[in-house]
């Protein structure tokens, strides 16, 4: 199955909202990376992408289907601080399982996946394993779940990191849990959405490049909070704002309890 060509955003005429919060901007920006018709997956502990998926489905991507560890095309009743939980299979058209989701990805049927990590470097390697020496870590993190495999099997990869700080964007990650530099992975890496900016990767060098800065954030601020030199286009636009409709859906329908703030 070939992916649809990315269409110009359906909200270009819509009224943008000014009183959004940063988590809402991140959710809306991630939602826009989803193309209608995509089959999409998310990892564990992925509250922000789970909301972005619901938001995309409710707006510009009604034919998008999410496949997660619990089910296909879920309709959860509320948001949780866990994203591997049966409630995320509520209303699904089919129950899923951990191996089955990976098998669909390995067969090439998952077009887009959302991943995060504690560190990311200039070639897109991510670390979710351990800080410091791997054998004697200063912080033993959770581990990357399926990242090291899905990096090779999911069609397009969007990363989300709620804390854009230079220690989290080092020249080189302490441990490569998610491989960003591997030839098979490079062309899959699409965007990185943080609390400051949207970045991508130069397809020639594989190096991270700035795409847009969030409203009120300067290019210098982004570079200052990044531990390596970002590739800079000649002009850096501002990240598209959330629309009135996006924010309304998030606040009223998808996440009235405001779990998104804890998901950051």
């Amino acid at each position: 199955m070939t992916e649809k060509i990315e269409t110009s955003t359906a909200v270009s005429e819509a009224a943008y909202v000014q009183d959004y919060t940063l988590d809402e901007l991140m959710v809306a920006t991630l939602a826009r990376t989803i193309r209608d018709g995509n089959t999409v997956m998310h990892g564990v502990a992925s509250m922000i992408p789970v909301m972005a998926i619901q938001l995309a489905k409710a707006t510009h991507a009604p034919d998008m289907v999410c496949v997660n560890l619990e089910g296909v095309d879920f309709r959860p009743q509320r948001c949780y601080l866990t994203t591997e939980y049966f409630a995320l299979g509520e209303g699904a058209v089919q129950w899923m399982s951990l191996p089955r989701m990976f098998e669909h990805a390995q067969r090439g049927r998952i077009n887009l996946g959302f991943f995060s990590g504690a560190q990311i470097d200039r070639i897109g390697n991510m670390n979710t394993s351990a800080l410091g020496d791997y054998q004697q870590p200063s912080v033993r993190l959770t581990g990357g779940a399926g990242q090291a495999i899905l990096a090779h099997t999911v069609g397009r990869i969007v990363m989300w990191l709620p804390r854009h700080e230079s220690r989290r964007f080092p020249e080189k990650v302490d441990f490569v849990t998610f491989p960003g530099h591997h030839p098979n992975v490079k062309k899959r890496l699409d965007k990185i959405v943080t609390n400051l900016a949207v970045m991508g990767f130069d397809q020639e060098t594989g190096y991270m490049k700035l795409i847009s800065t969030h409203p009120g954030v300067t290019v210098e601020q982004v570079q200052h909070n990044t531990g390596f030199e970002l590739l800079m286009p000649s002009e850096v636009p501002e990240t598209e704002l959330p629309t009135v409709e996006q924010v309304r859906l998030l606040r009223e329908k998808i996440d009235p309890e405001g779990v998104r703030k804890q998901g950051m």
């Binding site: 866990t82 390995q106 959770t142 990096a151 849990t177």
Partner: protein, 281 residues
């Protein structure tokens, strides 16, 4: 053949020091917590725990010093935080964590369930996990590179499920790969919310996950997943999870947790009474 055991202690006695074990469920659902508490009470040691992604089920066993190695791809509490006993044990060099990726572990267990010596899969290349997991082999088929992961055949698989009949036909609702976990293992111990008649199982064969000829033992343990949830039956106990994480912050304080919630209640009924979860008689 009747597979029913009268209580969790007899079921826990099927787990031996040094066994390799797998565990059903995930972070906040369908973990066989009542059975795990019974295993801890028995003082089982040196377990080799194999999980794809888990939370409290692994962390509590580590905190109770029942574990020698953990093979896994994610041990944590998602939005609630890191796994306190697990991270402490790894950071202090007391626990051997054999880190991998979910699907590699699931594939190793799948190989065990299929009676095969290995399974092929795509991925892991370029990750440092490839360097750490030296038992995985790369293999070329025509021009395609795949990874071969050696089979894992656990001694014991611990499962919590919705219901079973006396012959050990086990049913679940929702997502699970308990069938694979169970089939890979030598001994399959299942706790269920409810033991039902064989006729009831035969009315709904679509829900049967583990057939009786695979199951070793079944014990009825209502609310046996607590503090995790049971899909479409009851939610996880968020307040208790938060208390667990709070008391897990130091090794000393975690000992108090164990005293209060694991060693204190001598039986599952005692635990349910203590937690205000006892089913009305």
């Amino acid at each position: 053949m009747n597979k029913v055991l009268p209580n969790l202690d007899e079921a826990a006695a099927l787990v031996k020091d040094g066994d390799t074990i797998t565990i059903s469920g995930a972070f906040f659902e369908q973990a066989p917590m009542a059975l795990i508490r019974a295993i801890i009470r028995r003082g089982v040691k040196n377990l080799k725990v194999v999980v794809a992604a888990h939370g409290i089920a692994v962390d509590i066993l580590v905190g109770a010093n029942s574990v020698r190695t953990v093979t896994g791809a994610y041990v944590g509490f998602e939005g609630y935080g890191l796994a306190p006993n697990f991270r402490r044990a790894v950071e202090e060099g007391r626990l051997d964590f054999q880190e991998s990726a979910c699907f590699a572990i699931a594939s190793a267990i799948r190989a065990g369930a299929l009676g095969l010596p290995f399974m092929p899969l795509k991925g892991l290349f370029g990750s440092d996990l490839e360097q750490v997991r030296t038992e995985y082999r790369t293999f070329e088929w025509d021009d395609e590179e795949v990874l071969l992961v050696p089979a894992i055949k656990p001694d014991v698989c611990l499962v919590h499920a919705h219901r079973a009949d006396a012959e050990g036909n086990v049913q679940t609702r929702g997502s699970s790969w308990d069938d694979t976990l169970a089939e890979a293992a030598e001994r399959i111990i299942v706790t269920v919310e409810e033991i039902v008649s064989a006729e009831e199982i035969r009315r709904t064969p679509e829900f049967t996950k583990i057939p009786g000829f695979v199951t070793t033992a079944v014990v009825e343990a209502p609310r046996g997943a607590h503090p995790t949830g049971c899909p479409f039956e009851y939610d996880f106990d968020e307040a208790h999870i938060k208390r667990y994480l709070e008391m897990g912050k130091t090794a000393d304080e975690f000992q108090n947790y164990l005293d209060e919630y694991v060693y204190g209640p001598k039986t599952h009924d005692d635990y349910l009474l203590k937690m205000g979860l006892a089913v009305p008689a």
